[in-house]
Symmetry: D2
Subunit: 405 residues, 4 copies
């Protein structure tokens, strides 16, 4: 029996895999298991997880089921959205951004219940193991981490189910066969990968989509909405104020209706391989586009361009699981500083897979019709200044040009 | 009379503005004017420009009308697309990328005909004056630049038309009134700005769009296409090989049909103000998305992430008119180096404003189904390696974590 | 007479140039001149400036002489030093960092006295005009800026002196001839440029140095010192606590003695030309080296490397006069965030031009002898982890390697 | 017995450690060992390595002793120096840059002799294991790598010596006791670390320095030298043309004499810990300073600043062992592109630890005395241009300033 662990906090969904892990931890480490189940808006009932944990011998006071939806959106999704972060130019980081919060809460629970270890159900090939564990170690450097998928010998579906049956873990009918792909979901997105998606030349089958309507089936009439922002964060939809999680949920409904936010991507994992995934981020996609829209009007060029240059790095840090790192916090400090006047209203048009910004206004607009106008600007801008501006910008190029030859 | 100019090469469209400039240059500088009219795929007849120039006294051998479409796409658009360049996260730089080529050709003609000056019709508020003139100065440091809009007193439409009439310059009926907006077009895009677009809260009126169908009017059935890339550049559409300009033109047709590539943007000009524009980049949008698609499969992570970090700077350089600068060339050298294996086929689905990558394949794919698979990988990847990987990536965070407090 | 200015705040040193400017402003603009003389540690008597201003008719209540030394070091020099900022890899930005403070104070005075304009004595070829004026405009967008060197016709030394004599401005004997070079000084540095320094192949003559002993004349015995840092800022020398300006002054004495901080540089000005200057930054050089020393011990790698990547940009912003810009503030927010534990003691050895870090210690050290030791580390680090770390870092390179050919 | 290896190429110095490894490989893997000993200018006799290998049963045709000095400097050191690469702001990467060449040669030999494995003597805590192995895997993805220090149980000096004695491996007297620190040397530098250097507060003892005189013992008279550069690389010393390795060797002599190039550093290893080292890079330090000197004159600002921003990343890649990576090659392509006119002569003054640039000249100088002069410039630069330049650079700041409040 593996030694040295007394009490372990397991990130527990209540599904087959983490149920097997629960039992395996009890057996292999002879330790007490504490379960933690988070509501991040994945859209599943969580109470069955409680029953299952109890059935497997977890003490009632060691079963934690927390609704983290508001914290998730307010403290993780929105700060990330302030950065306009896109991994590899396109991916809105829906899975990546949820992991640090789960890790943080697990460590908090471990401290509360006096656990000396934590465990998760992520496999040894993916990014999530890295994100969980970097989070754990950053927040509790001496915690013991147990990653069953890297340790055990239940290396096939068959073995897993055999183990489950041997230990009276209920296996629902639809889990007996191989699922044609695997998913992860939270309030920001649903990801799908594996099996039927493994050939990047094959189009994603229709049945894989679970979170958005097919764009072709969206309404034939565009829908117009407004989102209000204050200091970089969304605060209202169509003029009605609402909390971060509520706003994102409403945008998810809109995105679903109009088939917005699908992404078929071949991406580079932190562990060194390429993988192919399909992401559905309905509300997040609309929000991301809207945030850029309000920044266009309210953000100075210097700030905007610096943000654009920092964003790929920032996105990479989150993707790689480095949310709780000094460099992510440094970038966040810079980004947050830029958002003090990112306040105003964006109007969007939603239609069959598209979300277009069609208007934006702000009390803090830096757009000056008086300066930019094609009409007489009454001296707001002296066109003659442009000559000197160009001449001095050209000076080094002219000196270079004279050198050639 | 302004002195010191003997012969000037004017970027001449044949329209009202540059016709007035032609005459004004002859009058003000008492110099010989050489006209240069470029076919960049703007979709206008160019021969009328010849007639007009001749009518205004330009010598036949001093009228240059050049078809630059292939050079434009091959040597400017495609290299830029290799970088996935987007200005301020969204704009495909359709106007910016055309200016250096015009400037280069003007300077070449100036050398051929022994001209000592060049002139253009860009205003004193915009970016184009900068782009033209930085190009001129970089390529011919001692050239004299004449920017009539910054010099003359024809500061209103009325004065301009009066000048035209006083000098027998034909003014077409539709030019008498104020145009409700102004446009620029080439094979890559059409831009519209000014007047009816000046309030960024107002939706762009339907009649402004000239290059794309309204997405709502696109076909109800999606269309699938493939684009083949070789070393980072598109070479074939639906398996049929074609030249760069032909490929872009065909993609424009497709993009037009499906209403793809519209962008309503408030952007930051190099000269320091914000402006609002509407861009239509039908083929370029499809191409950009496809290029990212083939890179996903064929570009190493290190190269891809470095490109993503360099791209905003690269885009800014082009936007600011610094195509002919050492730093743009340095970035190009880095980007081009990365494209040696960006070869393969991308499959896209086009539908009512959307262009989605739905498949990609390549003889140089770095995607390894064997490594990534959820199934047994026969030892292609040892999951136990992940532990050490995480442990050492976590080490600094653990040392940090132990310090706190 | 130039119109439209009622009262102007002049950055006034009391020297010949700004005295001529004072008179010229009175004459040319017929306006009231308010003088502002800052003590930034340049080491000159400031009271003569008062007498001179009074003599030229400036009202006593319009003569401002402020000791800004502590503000200069605390709010400008130290924040910049937190970034380890070096312009073009070597220059500690001694002139650049003083300009925004002068501009800020000028604008404050302008508001106090109800002035509508500000003026400075920087020439039209240099960076300082840009730094002053960008500061003015950022802090008071509608202020009128008068830059006499760009306006007047006193384009030679002779004319300047003639003007002075014609207006009873005293011209000291040593100003009659052409100075062999020009200087700028403050508590951080003295710069010298022009005339005898204009050929970058010629060694800087000995007599140009004013702020440091020749290294050859430094003591033959090295001197050891310690500097204590708290949260990124120096707080004590050899264990004795002192204010920012006092600390820098003491380090200047030490640097002078040992001939530390000379720099002969050909640099790129923001206005587009190269210039050659000689800088003496005795205390600042020691401080910069010491700050890196304490960061080595207390800064996490992620933070340190991010800082290193941001530093050239940050330095460029300061050099270009963009201290009061959103992007400089964003970078500052990131940098300052990193300094929370940059606390401890650095020991340095000073000797004939050199300042070497020879020791550093900190209560917040991240250096772990237990982990790094060549001796048995009792399990603090498991060498086997390195294999997985390398394997996964190598994975993408192996996939690449397999592709070649 | 470990299985599966038939023939292994060992990086073999002939010292105690790699001799033990040789024997251990023969025993543990029952495989044939091929030795490779590189002359990288470390200043040791290499023939004894041959004798030792033969004595331990290595076939004569399997003993490779190669003089790689010119290749090292020409293809690794000089390209790196073109980038002005400094790790963590100060370290010239002397160890890091040698590893990829050794790895490359090992793989070449492995292919020649049909070996299926490679091995090195780097420990499991350091960076060198990463550098060797990333090199191996990049160049031969399927090679088997044996890292004895991570595998065996010879975890103490005593056990190592016991093993040596048990296997008739000669142990020289001075190796019996624990060395007070460990070193690595090549033509670029000598590094020292461990043991007596492990407390970063303790000054490095005098006896640790092996490559440079104490600055205090350098000549009392400064020495002036010139270095000529062509296209970014050094080609001559004091006017005398010489090969890369010869030039670096001569500069090493000069640096040694004058005590130049010592660095006491606490650095961040790729494997996640901080370590303290002492580096002596006499010639490389002079060369680095000289290269910056010639770039000052010949490199355009845009190119120079881009290089400065890329350099920390480039240095990090080399430090981390990613020489053979697409992103290092991309950066190299950009850097090399910038060097086409970095040609000319730098004059330096060497004195007791210092190397100062005191003059530089070039046929491709971009420095224009005519433009920069304080004297009348005859219209080379129009000071009035500066006003427009400043006004347009200020525009966005003014719009910002008007917003505040």
């Amino acid at each position: 029996m593996a030694q040295g662990v007394k009490r372990v906090v397991l990130a527990f969904s209540g599904g087959l895999d983490t149920s097997v892990i629960l039992k395996w931890l009890q057996q292999t480490y002879g330790c007490e298991v504490v379960t933690f189940t988070a509501d991040l808006g994945q859209g599943e009932e969580l109470e069955p997880a409680r029953a299952k944990a109890q059935m497997m011998g977890v003490k009632p006071e060691h079963i934690f089921i927390d609704d983290l939806r508001e914290e998730f959106v307010r403290d993780y999704v929105f700060p990330m959205m302030r950065a306009n972060a896109l991994y590899e130019g396109t991916y809105l980081l829906g899975t990546s951004i949820a992991r640090p919060l789960i890790a943080k809460r697990q460590i908090e629970i471990a401290k509360m219940v006096g656990a000396d270890a934590v465990s998760h159900g992520a496999t040894g090939k993916g990014n999530d193991q890295v994100r969980f564990e970097l989070g754990y170690y950053a927040l509790e450097p001496d915690v013991k981490v147990i990653a069953p998928w890297r340790e055990w010998d239940l290396t096939s579906r068959t073995k897993l189910i055999e183990f489950a049956e041997a230990h009276q873990i209920p296996v629902s009918k639809d889990k007996r066969g191989e699922a044609p792909f695997s998913t992860d979901a939270n309030l920001l997105h649903t990801s799908s990968e594996g099996k039927v998606l493994e050939d990047p030349w094959d189009e994603v089958p229709d049945y894989v989509y679970s979170r958005t309507n097919h764009p072709e089936e969206g309404p034939d009439t565009p829908e117009y909405i407004t989102i209000d922002f204050e200091r970089g964060d969304g605060v209202a939809l169509n003029g009605e104020g609402m909390s971060p999680a509520t706003l994102l949920a409403k945008l998810n409904d809109l995105g679903k209706t109009h088939g917005i936010g699908r992404l078929d991507l071949v991406e580079n994992r932190f562990v060194g391989m390429k993988s192919r995934g399909m992401y559905e981020t309905p509300g997040g996609t609309i929000y991301h586009i809207a945030h850029r829209g309000i920044e266009q009007l309210t953000l100075d060029r210097g700030a905007a361009h610096l943000k654009d240059e920092l964003a790929p790095r920032y996105a990479e840090l989150i993707y790689n699981g480095l949310w709780f790192s000094p460099e992510r916090e440094m970038l966040q400090a810079a980004i947050d500083h830029s958002q003090s006047h990112v306040t105003g209203t964006v109007r969007l048009k939603l239609y069959k897979g598209n979300a277009w910004v069609v208007g934006r206004k702000s009390p803090y607009s830096l757009y000056s019709e008086k300066v930019v106008t094609f009409e007489d600007d009454a001296g707001a801008y002296d066109q003659k200044d442009a000559e000197g501006f160009i001449k001095l910008n050209a000076l080094r190029l002219r000196l270079l040009g004279r050198r050639q030859g």
